[in-house]
């Protein structure tokens, strides 16, 4: 753990430059597709950071965080679509509902440890998914909810944004992401952060050192769920459509964990790295960019069997790539990309020292 004084100036400087660049980006980038990718990355970082607080710092591997993502998304969008409550209120309602539900589940499930906790978290998320499928009156079941309009955001009579372009989503995502990172940093440098990590390292030892396990696990869960729910609301509003198989799916829960595992769990920037690696990659596959690039480069003939196969099928392969990445990361860099780099660097330093 690094304290404030222990932070060297270079990473701080780099972070500041990156943040400024990100704020200016929409002024220089015209491509809506690029903005689209950036927004997806932001949402992924937000949900990853959320999970990271519970899974990475506190060591409670929830593989059911889609439940809170979905609850956030559904609350915000149901309120907006059926009750005409503006999303900037609905988002808070989503957080409240998600945290309330999480605390009930947490106080029940946190007595379980290790693989049993993982299984329980999956079961809870599945209960939510099946319930959303069945409560047709509230959620419109498997058909999902299509958003018709987001009301314009006004202060007084001045319309700040009407949400017609991607720009407002970009800035909302960016600001939320920065808040998520700042909160993670503050947690890491606080009593809570120490307690979370103590629980991760050894629950019994932590307990004997005066840490009330149920209380602190639930606190971690609450922080975690705030960001997961926010990511869900944001996703729903941005994409304009939610259904149980996208926002409450086991696949989503796994993706949330993967963002952190690939980047490096229990580190502030792990989710950022994970999202930056995963999102563009899977989007490139999904949108057939890679297949097209292979064909354009002349490596593969478009009309050959391989060419048609790639064009038709590679877009479905992004989950396959997720799977392969997951296997590779667990087998060869279990501490994620950040941990891997750190290990290589310190090995290099040791060599140089000799």
């Amino acid at each position: 753990m690094q304290n404030m004084r222990g932070m060297s100036t270079l990473p701080v400087l780099l972070t500041v430059v990156a943040v400024i660049a990100l704020f200016l980006l929409p002024n220089f980038v015209e491509s809506t597709y690029a903005l689209h990718i950036m927004i997806l990355i932001f949402i992924s970082v937000i949900m990853g950071s959320g999970w990271n607080i519970l899974g990475g710092y506190t060591g409670q591997y929830s593989v059911g965080h889609a439940a809170y993502f979905g609850v956030g998304a559904y609350t915000t969008i149901v309120l907006m679509q059926y009750q005409h409550i503006a999303p900037w209120y609905g988002v808070w309602a989503g957080i409240l509902v998600a945290v309330a539900i999480a605390l009930i589940i947490g106080s029940i499930c946190f007595r379980l440890r290790g693989p049993y906790f993982v299984l329980a978290s999956i079961a809870v998320a599945e209960i939510f998914r099946v319930t959303a499928l069945n409560l047709k009156k509230l959620t419109n079941g498997a058909e999902g909810i299509l958003i018709t309009d987001i009301p314009p955001f006004k202060i007084g009579d001045i319309v700040i944004t009407d949400f017609m372009s991607k720009i407002p989503f970009y800035y909302i995502g960016l600001v939320t992401l920065i808040i998520a990172i700042i909160v993670t940093w503050l947690l890491q440098n606080s009593k809570l952060g120490y307690y979370f990590q103590a629980i991760r390292e050894d629950q019994d030892a932590a307990h004997s050192l005066g840490i009330n396990l149920t209380v602190y696990k639930n606190v971690a869960l609450a922080f975690s769920v705030v960001f997961t729910s926010l990511a869900g609301s944001l996703y729903g509003l941005y994409v304009g459509f939610i259904d149980p198989t996208t926002v409450l799916a086991l696949d989503l829960s796994v993706q949330i964990v993967m963002i952190c595992i690939i980047g490096g769990i229990g580190t502030i920037f792990g989710p950022v790295i994970g999202a930056v690696v995963l999102v563009p990659f899977s989007e490139a596959l999904r949108s057939n960019m890679i297949a097209q690039a292979l064909i354009d480069s002349g490596l593969v003939n478009e009309n050959s069997g391989v060419g048609t196969f790639l064009k038709e099928q590679l877009s479905h392969a992004h989950v396959l790539i997720y799977g392969i990445l997951l296997v590779v990361v667990i087998l060869f860099m279990p501490d994620g990309i950040l941990g891997f780099i750190r290990k290589k660097l310190s090995a290099k330093q040791r060599k140089e020292a000799i």
Partner: protein, 288 residues
Amino acid sequence: MAVFLQSMISGILIGGVYALIGIGLTIIFGVMRVINFAHGDLLMIGMYMTYFLFALLHIDPFVSIIVTIPMMFLFGAFLQKVFINRVLGALPQNQILLTIGMGLVMSNAVMLAFTSDYKILSTTYSSASFNILGISISSPLLISFAITIAITLALYWFLYRTDTGQAIRATAQDRDAAQLMGINVKRMSIIAFGMGAALAGTAGALISPTYYIFPQVGSVFTLKAFVITVLGGMGSIVGATLGGVIIGVAESVGGVYFGSGWKDVIVFILFLLVLLFKPSGLLGTSKD
């Protein structure tokens, strides 16, 4: 009452297949302490194998298990040797994520190869059924139940009567002690994963005449497999057998009385209750 009996019987019949899935998972967990999240995907591969043996070579699905069982065993042994073996000492979370990753690779590779279209394996008897005392019994389910019983008996014989079986059970009971007793724990792990995969594959083969076959079908069964094994007590073979039947009946009866949309909720709530109040399973001895 007739409805109740009807759903009980179909629950027991499908429960036999669930038992196979559960026993496979429980053997893997017992011997290696690894929870296999790719278990349903192994079942899915068994389904596809059966489908193609039927579609291309016209081998009856209930006959083709003779081919499916050894192939799935080899596949499982391979997975253990190449992947699982490397994380045996790692954090349980990492083991779980590895098997999740393996499952994703399997289901999506199958999807790439054969598209995500639903395939239907329709035999002449797929929808055949007969009546006993006003209760209709599906023929393919009954045949698969008979085969399940035969396999389960063979399995019990193997585990309780042969040297290798004893060694596997010893390893499941106490890995370190088994090692000290001179049991080749690594070999047992490979056999265990092979057996787990073979059982999942067999279960897939047995349900293929009555189920839609598609790449994502596994995840449903992975979750069911957890419920079954936790219910019976992780690592307990008798427990998994019992757990399979209980879940089969709970689903079938619950589906009738609460509507089929809710039956999974019932199963998962049952699962949570067992996890919370009797984590050692119905047959396990509670430590506190």
